[in-house]
Symmetry: D2
């Protein structure tokens, strides 16, 4: 496992879907930041389950307890630790997957990697539930960025292939006992130019590294992305001009990043989310104990589409990566 | 700058397009590996310029000199250092871009980040030339992987939007004084299951981090990637089955990676390369010294399409990321 | 702050003396390790306060709660998180040091570094209390090492300058309202040869880095250490010989480490612990608010000597550093 | 191997005693620093061999060639690479140690670690010669620190146990075909308060990690160090006072570091250097090929004492560690 991220603000995420708690330690936050807990809770609520019939029925407050790092709600320079208790777990739901891995999930690869000692309940550390501490860290950092005039905002671009009626696609999938994926677009606005440490710690490198921590992400592109591969240089290059004394580009095909470094234009990226692998239909799989093929019926509570809940997670992952590089750039 | 990569095999790349030399230090290679220098040279030749009318006219041997880390051609455990001299440089070609940044290049962002002290000649450290030491490191690691039965092979999927006639598209662009981009597909075959360290050092996280070090990459996707966002779960999930005693999946939409960990199926990824920003046409830009808009004519030698030369670079970046994680997984 | 350590087994320590809890996240433990909680508790009890009149009167169970990383007491590959609640805190004791830093403590340097936002109560994150989570991590790793035949054992070499009657020296200091320091010797036995990654991650480099995390440590030496500086080469060199098929040295002036790498002989090191800075006597200091000199009377509960409690901490720090390098060496 | 150091300014050292060259890559230097090459050369000359009869007869210019990272002698933000050619090597001198490891050297431990593929000539990567690139990096950083008003200055405290006549001790040892070690003291003056990232990246942790990269270092202590272990708290605590508006301490037993963070007082440390293991006398050792004990006569050129040449190395190591933490503290 390497559930740690960051050179300057170091984040260490822990927990399994059905362990006593999940949480995060954030080491390196500046001292003197007043944390707005209510605002953070609202951010966390955006990824919380149980809000509509399109998301899983499991209902938990996902209210973090802050164990350290704050004095009267203000960061003190010491590592900040936050935990969320897992109260509403039904491990019995997962008994069958101990022997039969779920297609599309990490059950099989975790089984190989951890020699059968992996925590299978609810997907263990691979569960989407682990995006809650990611959002705790991201939500705190988003507050810091906001004070610097930087906003990071993600939204659903399409679901199930549709830009017009994404929620209709979710409902269709739900009724079919199936699931759908989608594409999320994220824009970071207000980022100063000069942020990013190429060749390997450029903005694209590090945002990509962070975003792929969200389960179900299978692709990322910046600016025009894959479409740029079909343009000519004369179409894709963004002309520079002076807007007063500020340098801007007339178009933003580069998505705010040139050579891994921010240009001052909005950072734009899109993330592909695969359809939730947990579906109500029976699926082909294997049974380890008999070394033979098997049929799996997945029980438990699952979303027909996790894209809406992934939106704040993308914001959180981008915030974490961008802020870590901003600190490096500020020196 | 952070031109270093790897936790176990640490790579440090240095050089500018027109500095005395470019090179790489690789710290952490196992001792006792016999390096096949001829094979490495053939690999490097695949990214070398000057091979056809579709690539820049600058001709250099790109023959690395090994300064350390080898005894009689065999690794000795000490850091391996290789340098390639820059012999054929014409810095005068770049005089005008000291004051007028090239659209689509890192000239402007480097100017901001390095306060005007950046090396502008040939794009400095941001030049595609820096992929030569990346390929030295990658080429060495590819030899190690091959001995373990792992092959990493990339190829052109499309150029200028065409899968049928990619080189026709390059020729069209060349005649128009313009450029084209494309998409490269890369397949890593033979990788055992269990490689990858989620959440932040999974295969996707780290391959993405490495691949974005190649200038002009604007997107990456694994398995079905962005297309998966339009599939249903029942279509995208890959059924497991036993092929004798080996576990395989009937389809490979997951691209050999589940939960950031290799499944034993081929790792498949695609990379979007934007069109070369250097084009023969005049472009809108700015002049720093007068803080006013300006028109830029780019001189110098440039490819109408760098996609063919980027193919071995994608292999090198993948090799570096995968091998670093393999060592971690071998413990 | 950088309360994180380790490249392979990553440890992240959090908490302040008087925060809700202190704790540690350990990322990278192998799966399948059965944790002996009772044995761990016994190890933790060795550093716990309140055991005798020579240590502070504060009494706490220091019983860690494991939030994640274990399934039925066995590691599952996911990060292990353990917390210890702070129940018996009396922050009011520290009111005066908000304005008057204690000589010999980190109060002043933390004040400068964290701009007055530092948590002063009980020394905050700089408190010796933070060695409890260090010992949780170290105690777990010591169990893993023991299964590999490696034991790490520290003991008091001298206190207050006396090797004969260390506890008499503590009693003398206590009666004088003063404090004493001492020297701890630590021996790691059973370590195979070949462990350590020079130049910067050799055994000495990394053990030293870990050991200086224990507050009050002011020096470290390996083998003959400072005494070796007074020997001739012919006296200090340790002759090799074959003990059957095993290579050993006739003496162990090198302390089991040559060139940063273990030789197979016992690793021997000594650590200098300064006298506890908290003393009952009045001391000269400054008052920030008036920018003038001041006299400080330290209240609160303090040990006249922390050397006995530091013994398991030295074992823990050594265990953490050695195990991290062992994993690297096992590849 | 892990011959890399630094989180912010990353240093990667390469080379063996008898490889084509030795050198260093420094990634993360700020852009716009004018390098004084003459001053750097003078610094390097302080560790160069062949200056007196007390040091080895091998004479090399040790003049670094700068391959990258500079434009007209000014840093450009790209990684700086410097190499020093190895011209005066006599590998034949080391033929016997291929089979018979030298006591006190890393020959045996390297042999185990690198499975017999290690470069034995001249000690390979473990040679004191590798302190030349350390001094290149350190010398450059010392120039940067000096511009910030920080000086780092080391000196010989004692050799062969004598503070009065250290060079007499060297001469005695030389005549006896033996060697002596010594103690070096290093003082960093002008460092602002607030530098250091506890618990694991405090000044003591990181300076110790860097200093142990110098071969032959066996101990380090800060402030009063081991002597502090024999003092009472009332003697060892340094009273604070206002010197005008500046906070100082009346004594400096803490050696400028409290809680791992600089106090603004001079940072003081001492380093124990063991006697050079290469001596003219015959020594007991083993012969790998026959698995039997053997007698070794070391040929080659060696110093009876490397302490004088180690002085600038200690300055370099301290500079590297301190500057890396200063950048972190400047944010």
């Amino acid at each position: 496992m390497a559930s740690t991220f960051g050179h300057n603000v170091k984040i260490s995420i822990f927990g399994q879907s059905h362990s006593a708690a999940i949480g995060v330690v954030i080491d390196g936050l500046p001292a003197g930041i007043a944390l707005d807990e209510e605002k953070l809770q609202k951010f966390l609520d955006r990824r919380a389950p149980g809000k509509s019939r399109y998301s899983t029925a499991r209902k938990e407050a996902d209210r973090p307890e802050f164990l350290s790092g704050l004095v009267d709600g203000v960061t003190c320079g010491a590592p900040l630790a936050a935990v969320i208790r897992n109260t509403n777990t039904r491990s019995a739901d997962y008994d069958n997957i101990r022997d039969i891995p779920r297609p599309g999930h990490a059950d099989y690869t975790a089984h190989v990697k951890y020699n059968g000692f992996e925590d299978v309940s609810g997907g263990g550390h691979f569960s989407g539930r682990l995006t809650a501490p990611l959002c705790v860290a991201g939500g705190i950092i988003l507050q810091i960025l906001e004070k610097k005039g930087i906003t990071i905002s993600a939204s659903i671009l399409e679901i199930g292939g549709s830009r017009r009626d994404p929620f209709g696609k979710i409902e269709e999938a739900r009724q079919a006992g199936d699931s759908v994926g989608g594409i999320i677009e994220c824009i970071a606005d207000g980022l100063p130019s000069g942020i990013g440490e190429p060749m390997f710690d450029g903005l694209e490198n590090r945002i990509a590294q962070a975003v792929f921590a969200i389960p179900a992400v299978k692709g990322i592109e910046f600016g025009r992305g894959f479409e740029a591969a079909r343009l000519r240089g004369s179409e894709n290059n963004d002309p520079f001009y002076y807007d007063g004394t500020r340098v801007r580009t007339r178009t933003n095909n580069h998505g705010g990043i040139l050579g891994g470094i921010s240009s001052g234009m909005p950072v734009v990226l899109r993330v592909a989310i695969k359809p939730t692998p947990s579906i109500a239909r029976s699926q082909e799989s294997i049974r380890y104990s008999r070394k033979e093929d098997a049929v799996l019926e997945v029980r438990g509570r699952h979303d027909p589409c996790i894209v809406p809940r992934a939106v704040p997670c993308v914001e959180a992952a981008c915030a974490i990566a961008i802020y870590d590089l901003m600190i490096e750039g500020e020196r």
